[in-house]
Each structure stands twice: as structure tokens, then as C-alpha cells.
């Protein structure tokens, strides 16, 4: 809990500084846009968090976003599928990719980094190939308003992606911190052998984390596609897995597995997006964007290490 409190304080301080230096931070449009992005990226962070708790990693998220985005556009504009069916198709495809990752990791025993690195390369290439390397959009396809509102609309002034993120976070919180499944997830991440010797189906638990991650990636893919309204297969979603991983790590997930919390991921995502917003608003050259993020994550992790050491000593 302490770790989450630390990030929360950091988040509040950062917001306060930005708001004082640049009142536009608190303008409704800016807040809406920032929370919209928090929502979309947060879904990725939650999924990655589940995988990271098992001691794994998913590097393929960004490329999967591109592949799924391209597929969504083609399903609607070229195969003329109804919007809702197209979304279901995307989530189903995403989950089967997740199943494949889980299978290769838990059954074939290939390291998660390698499995999903191959995914990163493969899905990006596939996306570019099936799109003929052309940017795909949604053209004048009709009847998409409701789906588009999922990405760009608001409910009582709150952006839909953020609402969705909060709902999914609540579900994930129950799943990870209150359910038997969640306990098993941590057990497998901490000591897979001991989990197995206690009668836990460790392979199934590991595989399921990849499927959860992929399902959330699928939902996020729909949101990102409609948010940008066009999918350029060579750049769409590039590096997005790193935002998710960064948020999870900042939120207290350990890459060794067995550690992490939903609240931490939520705060970590928010912190990263506020940072981005701060860079934009305060006129810091946007080329420094990644540098600022990298520095903040490093400082966060360093602070955490120092606190831990102090605790051990004291």
C-alpha cells in the first residue's frame, strides 16, 4: 500500500505543479483528453500487469494493436461486417493470439521475452502486408457512431475509454486481489514449482494471463483505432507495450514476478500520461518526451530501492 501512496502523492504533486504553471492543464478539454488517454493506455497496463505478475512479459502488444486495427478497418470497410460483429472478431483474434503466446510459454516452455518478441516482429510485418502498407481508415462506413463514441464519446462529461478503464480496473481488482485465481497468479509468479506441488494447474494459470492481456489489448485496439480514426500499419501502436510495462513497473510490479497491484498500475498509467501532458503544456520540446519518461521511471524505481534498503536496515 505504501508504494501506491508514494505514486499517488507524486501524481498529485505533479498535477499541482502543472496546474500552477499552466492553468490550461485544468481546462475541461485538456482533462478530458488526458483521461481519455489514461483509459486507453490503462487497459494495456492492466493486461501487462497480469502477465508480469506471473513473471512473464508481453512485447507484442503494440504490433498487435496495429494488426488488430488494420483487421478492424478491413472487416468494416472491405468485408462490410456490422461494427459490433467486427469488434467481436477483433477481440476473438486477439484472444487466440494470447492463447498462442500462453501455449508457447507454458507448454513449449519458450521464454516469454522471446515468444512475444517474435510476436512483435511478426504482427507488425503481417499488419503491413495485409494492408499493403497503406493507411487504413473507416471511410464513410455508416452505423459506426456508437462504436466510435466508445473511443471519442463521453458519459456525463467523462471520456468513455476512462469509464471503461475504471470498470475493467474494478473487475481486475476483484480478480487479482480477492479471488482464488488471483492468489494462484501470485503463487505461480513467486514460485511456480511450489504452486504445482500445491495442486495448482500452473500452466493453465500462466496461459490465462496471456489471454487476459490479449483480450484487453483487443478492446484497446478498437479504442485506439477509432480514436486515431486511421491505422497506419507501420507506426500504429509502436512502443505502446512499453507504456504498459512502464506503468506496471512504476506501479510496483516486479519483473521477477509475484508482485504488483491493480491500484499501482492505475496510478502508474495516470502518472505517465500526466507527464506527457506536462511536456506538451509546459513547452518542453516534445522530442524530449521519452527522455522525461525514462528519467521519471528510473527515479521512481531508485526511490523505491532506497526506501526498501532503509526498511531493511531500520
Amino acid at each position: 500500500m505504501k508504494k501506491e501512496l508514494g505514486i499517488f502523492i507524486l501524481l498529485v504533486v505533479l498535477c499541482a505543479i502543472t496546474a500552477i504553471k499552466e492553468p490550461r492543464f485544468l481546462a475541461p478539454e485538456n482533462l478530458q483528453n488526458t483521461t481519455r488517454l489514461i483509459g486507453a493506455y490503462g487497459l494495456l497496463g492492466l493486461g501487462l500487469g497480469a502477465v508480469i505478475i506471473t513473471g512473464g512479459i508481453d512485447l507484442s502488444v503494440g504490433s498487435a494493436l496495429a494488426l488488430l486495427g488494420v483487421l478492424l478497418s478491413m472487416a468494416i470497410t472491405e468485408w462490410h461486417m456490422p461494427g459490433f460483429a467486427a469488434v467481436l472478431l477483433i477481440v476473438a483474434v486477439a484472444m487466440s493470439l494470447g492463447w498462442l503466446h500462453g501455449f508457447l510459454v507454458s507448454r513449449v516452455r519458450i521464454q516469454p521475452f522471446i515468444v512475444t518478441l517474435c510476436g512483435l516482429l511478426f504482427y507488425r510485418g503481417l499488419a503491413r502486408f495485409i494492408a499493403d502498407d497503406e493507411t487504413k481508415g473507416f471511410g464513410d462506413a455508416a452505423g459506426l457512431e456508437r462504436l466510435q463514441s466508445l473511443a471519442t464519446g463521453n458519459a456525463l462529461g467523462v471520456p468513455m475509454p476512462f469509464v471503461l478503464f475504471i470498470v475493467v480496473s474494478a473487475l481486475m481488482w476483484v480478480l487479482i486481489h480477492r479471488s482464488i485465481y488471483g492468489r494462484y497468479l501470485f503463487a505461480v509468479g513467486n514460485n511456480e514449482d511450489a504452486a504445482r506441488y500445491s495442486g495448482i494447474n500452473a500452466k493453465l494459470i500462466v496461459a490465462s494471463a496471456y489471454i487476459i492481456c490479449a483480450a484487453l489489448t483487443g478492446i484497446a485496439a478498437v479504442i485506439f483505432a477509432f480514436y486515431t480514426n486511421s491505422v497506419s500499419p507501420s507506426s500504429h501502436g509502436s512502443f505502446f507495450e512499453l507504456y504498459g510495462i512502464a506503468a506496471a513497473v512504476l506501479g510496483g510490479c516486479s519483473l521477477r514476478g509475484g508482485e504488483g497491484s491493480v491500484l499501482g498500475i492505475l496510478l502508474g498509467t495516470a502518472l505517465l500520461q500526466v507527464l506527457q501532458n506536462l511536456v506538451n503544456l509546459l513547452g518542453i520540446p516534445s522530442s524530449l518526451n521519452f527522455a522525461v519518461m525514462g528519467a521519471v521511471i528510473l527515479i521512481g524505481v531508485l526511490a523505491d530501492q532506497l526506501l526498501k534498503r532503509k526498511k531493511v536496515k531500520g
Binding site: 476483484v174 480477492r178 479471488s179 482464488i180 485465481y181 492468489r183 494462484y184 503463487a187 513467486n190 514460485n191 514449482d193 511450489a194 504452486a195 504445482r196 506441488y197 500445491s198 495442486g199 495448482i200 494447474n201 509475484g258
Partner: protein
């Protein structure tokens, strides 16, 4: 009489809240083997850490060859010629034997290139190995060696450092009987060449066999010293615990259901061509003896479904059990307490509560959600029933002693109805007090009607708790002895491969 090599006098060491050592003295003469025994927490390791320069004594004097010395660091200790063989070996399994022996102080050649002088380290290592009578090439990758041979490598390393006093902490805890005998021989050879040894062990058989003198510690103080001629098992135990230990085993009448749990033609992955069959009666303890590598653990893992069997099967009360994973086994009341507590039995970073309920979590849950209050109650009940010594069930198991950790592993299973319980080396690294508590629990399990299998390399233990003893050798079951027939000699004959005549 000549000056002793090492004299420690009036050593005191206090830690916040505990007096670890209170006026402890220890003397070791050159070329003498002194056994240091005592229960866990008696102060053995603290005393040795003072010799190793890890702790500084609050009071007392250390003399080395008659000269007062102060040991402020591991380097000081090494410079005096004190070497340690720890229970957990500090070797690199990815390097070869010679590289391990000279790690960190490799002789160099090639001037500016600063290369390791492989020829020299191989020659010196080979010489030392010969001196110890170990038939291993300096070029063998350490990972290919057995634990016993790795230990010899550690000893080689200590010798290459010109060690005059070698401290061995539980050196035989992972060794088979033959390997143990070989090690004891090496210890005697060291003595003959003038090296002194402080031998720390829970296995009193070895102690009485090899030591010139036994120094017993109890609760951080000297409890007594026995010279070679006064040494015997019971006197040592008496000094260790300060009272007589009653023997736990109560002879039982024959099992009402001798065929309760039957293993038939079980073939393990390691020995696929050697089917194993045996039976364990209801309420019976079957001890399984044998050398390390005899395939005992493999049989246990096949029964428990960790490494599903290649063929054959098991049945309970006449009904065939289908077991393809530990999950299946547990559902049918078959459980395994693995040898490697830390790696396989526990999630070390977790609390007692989470570990105790891990295997039966669905009982403390509704609709898939954990009922924390019920879980907590169950954990508290079990840990007080098993007398786990810990501030609360919220304590991390990594902070518990070996005996208490083993109790937590047991607690995990005792929350459900058990038909068959397999223990793999249940008391390794556990002190005498906790040992008898574990034996009591085994008795309770049999009294409740479970069939119990105990795999152990400690023959004393096997003889003490088993109703019958099965012996394995290289994957074969070479014989099953009734209690009356079982003796160390009879077991060893079978363990080295003689079948029953």
C-alpha cells in the same frame, strides 16, 4: 602439552533481545577433529561466524597458536588459515573444477594480456585432488559432478588456501552413506596431514565415529565436552537437550488393511525399464531407504503426479487412482512433502497464512472469492496445532527456522483428509526437538488411518519410525524388510544392490 592451535575463551555475543553466546570456550589442537554439536539456536553458527570474521565478540579472547588475535573480516580469518565448508556450497556450476578451486586468485600469464595460467591451476588442482583421493579431472564442469564430489572440490579449494583449520557445517546432510564414509575418511586424512577440523553435524553417528572430542553447546553456553572414550550417542543427546528424550515410536499391531495403498509396476522416467511394486497398509509407515540416485524421489514424484509414470499404476483400497498431476493426487488425498522445502514446498516470500491455505484455498472461498476471515482462522488453528513458532500467521515463512518451515508445509496438507502421505527427507536440516515433533505428527497421521511413506537417507530415522523398510538400488526395489529384520547392515546390503538371499 603443546599450545593449542585455536583457543576461544569466554566468548560472549549479544544481539538485540538475545544473548547468543554466554562465556563460551572452545579449544582445537593441531591435527584434531573437534565435533561441535547442539540444537539449532544453540550458538554454533554464531561462534563459527566469529571465527569467520563476520561477527565481533562482545567479550572474550581468541588465541591462534598461542598469540592473541582479532578477526575483523573474512580476509583476516582466511589469512590465519581458517577455511569453511558451508552447508550450501559456494561453487559455480558453469565453470570447471580447476576454475572453481582458483576463483578470484587465478595465477596470471601473458604479461599485458593478463591471461589465466590454466596449466598451473590445472596441475595444482590435480595434485590436490590426488591428495584427497578424488578421481575427478580438473577440467570436469562442476555441473556434471554429484553433490559429494562438489564438496570434495570445496575441500580442495580450502586446501589450496593452506588451511590449517577447516570448519565443516553439516557436510553430510546431502550425502549418501557411502559418500559419507568417504568424506569421513578424507576428514581423517586431513587430520593425519596436520589440518584441524571443526565438524558440525546433527548426525551423531558420524560424530562419534570421527571426532576426537565433542563440544556440546546448549542455549548459547558450553553444555559439556566429551573425550573420545566417553562419547556415546545417548550422552551427547543428553547434553544437547539437557534431558532424556523419550523414543516416540510405539510399536503397533499389524495393519488391518495391509494392501490399502498399492503401487504396481510403476515405471519412472528416470528408470523406465525398472518397474517398482510395493504396498503400504492403512496406518502403517513404510520407510524407503537407499542411496541418493536410487530412484526413491522419482517414485514419489510419479505417485504424486509431478512426473507422471511411464507405466503401471497405484490403487487405494482396491480402486485404481488416476493421477496425472499433483492436482489429481491431492483431490484423492495423496500428498507429498518434498525434500526441497524452499524450492518446492513453500512460497518463501509469502506469509504463513497464505502458504498454509494454498492447497485448499477453495474451502475458504465463496464464488471464487477468498474469505479472508475464514482463511485466517484456519491458518491460526493449524499453526497453533502444529506449534509453529512465529509471532503470527502474518509472518513470512522465509523468517522461520527449518523445523517451523517444515511444519508450515505439513499444515498445508493437514487441512484436508489424507489417505496417503509421502515424506521425502522430512527432517533434513531440522534440529532434534522439531524432529520429534515431526515424528509425532507422522504417528498421528497413521493413527488417523493414513498410509505413510517416508523416504530418508538417515538410517537412524528409518529404523526409528518405520513399520517396514523398502530399500531401493539404482531404480530397483531390492527388498522390503519387516521391522524385526531391519538393521543398518541389512538395509545397507540391499542399498548397495545385493538382493535378499
Amino acid at each position: 602439552m603443546t599450545t593449542p592451535l585455536l583457543e576461544m575463551k569466554g566468548i560472549c555475543k549479544r544481539f538485540p533481545g538475545v544473548i547468543a553466546l554466554d562465556d563460551v570456550s572452545l579449544e582445537v589442537r593441531a591435527g584434531e577433529i573437534v565435533a561441535l554439536v547442539g540444537e539449532n539456536g544453540a550458538g554454533k553458527s554464531t561462534l563459527m561466524k566469529i571465527l569467520g570474521g563476520i561477527y565481533q565478540p562482545d567479550a572474550g579472547e581468541i588465541r591462534w597458536g598461542g598469540q592473541p588475535v582479532s578477526i575483523h573480516s573474512v580476509n583476516d580469518s582466511m589469512r590465519l588459515g581458517i577455511g569453511f565448508i558451508h552447508q550450501e556450497l559456494n561453487l559455480f556450476s558453469n565453470l570447471d573444477v580447476a576454475a572453481n578451486v582458483f576463483i578470484g586468485r587465478e595465477p596470471r600469464v601473458g604479461g599485458i594480456l593478463n591471461l589465466i595460467d590454466r596449466r598451473k591451476i590445472e596441475a595444482e588442482t590435480a595434485m590436490l585432488l590426488r591428495r584427497l583421493g578424488v578421481d575427478v579431472s580438473p577440467r570436469t564442469p562442476l555441473g556434471d559432478l554429484s553433490i559429494a564430489h562438489r564438496q570434495m572440490v570445496e575441500i580442495t579449494k580450502a586446501l589450496s588456501l593452506d588451511t590449517r583449520l577447516l570448519i565443516m557445517d553439516e557436510p553430510t546432510s546431502s550425502l549418501t552413506l557411502t559418500e559419507t564414509n568417504r568424506l569421513l575418511e578424507v576428514v581423517r586424512e586431513l587430520r593425519a596431514s596436520g589440518v584441524s577440523v571443526i565438524y558440525i553435524s546433527h548426525r551423531l553417528g558420524e560424530v562419534t565415529e570421527v571426532a576426537d572430542r565433542v563440544v556440546v553447546l546448549r542455549d548459547g553456553a558450553n553444555a559439556g565436552t566429551l573425550e573420545r572414550e566417553e562419547m556415546n550417542h545417548d550422552r551427547i543427546v543428553q547434553l544437547m537437550v539437557g534431558r532424556d528424550l523419550q523414543h516416540v515410536h510405539t510399536p503397533k499391531t499389524d495393519s488391518v488393511k495391509p494392501d490399502y495403498f498399492a503401487v504396481e509396476n510403476l515405471r519412472t522416467r528416470r528408470y523406465p525399464h525398472k518397474p517398482v511394486s510395493f504396498k503400504v497398509g492403512k496406518g502403517e509407515v513404510l520407510g524407503v531407504a537407499g542411496l541418493v540416485g536410487a530412484g526413491r524421489t522419482e517414485v514419489a514424484q510419479a505417485i504424486f503426479g509431478v512426473e507422471p509414470a511411464m507405466g503401471g499404476g497405484v490403487s487405494l483400497d482396491g480402486e485404481t487412482l488416476k493421477i496425472n498431476s499433483p492436482r489429481d493426487a491431492i483431490k484423492q488425498g495423496v500428498c507429498l512433502i518434498p525434500e526441497d522445502r524452499r524450492g518446492l514446498g513453500l512460497v518463501m516470500e509469502w506469509t504463513i497464512r497464505e502458504n498454509v491455505t494454498l492447497a485448499t484455498l477453495d474451502r475458504y472461498a465463496r464464488a471464487g472469492l477468498v474469505d479472508f476471515a475464514a482463511e485466517n482462522r484456519a491458518a491460526i488453528e493449524m499453526s497453533s496445532k502444529l506449534r509453529v513458532k512465529a509471532p503470527s500467521v502474518a509472518a513470512k515463512v522465509s523468517q522461520l527456522s527449518g523445523g517451523n518451515q517444515q511444519k508450515v508445509v505439513l499444515a498445508k496438507w493437514l487441512l484436508q483428509k489424507l489417505n496417503v502421505v509421502i515424506f521425502d527427507e522430512p527432517t533434513r536440516g531440522i534440529d532434534i526437538g522439531a524432529k520429534s515433533e515431526i515424528y509425532e505428527l507422522i504417528n498421528q497421521l497413521t493413527a488417523d488411518g493414513a498410509a505413510v511413506i517416508v523416504i530418508s537417507s538417515d538410517l537412524e530415522e528409518i529404523l526409528r519410525i518405520s513399520d517396514r523398510v523398502a530399500v531401493m538400488h539404482e531404480g530397483n526395489l531390492t527388498g522390503v524388510l519387516r521391522r524385526a529384520e531391519a538393521s543398518e547392515e541389512a538395509i545397507m546390503r540391499l542399498a548397495v544392490g545385493h538382493s535378499r538371499s
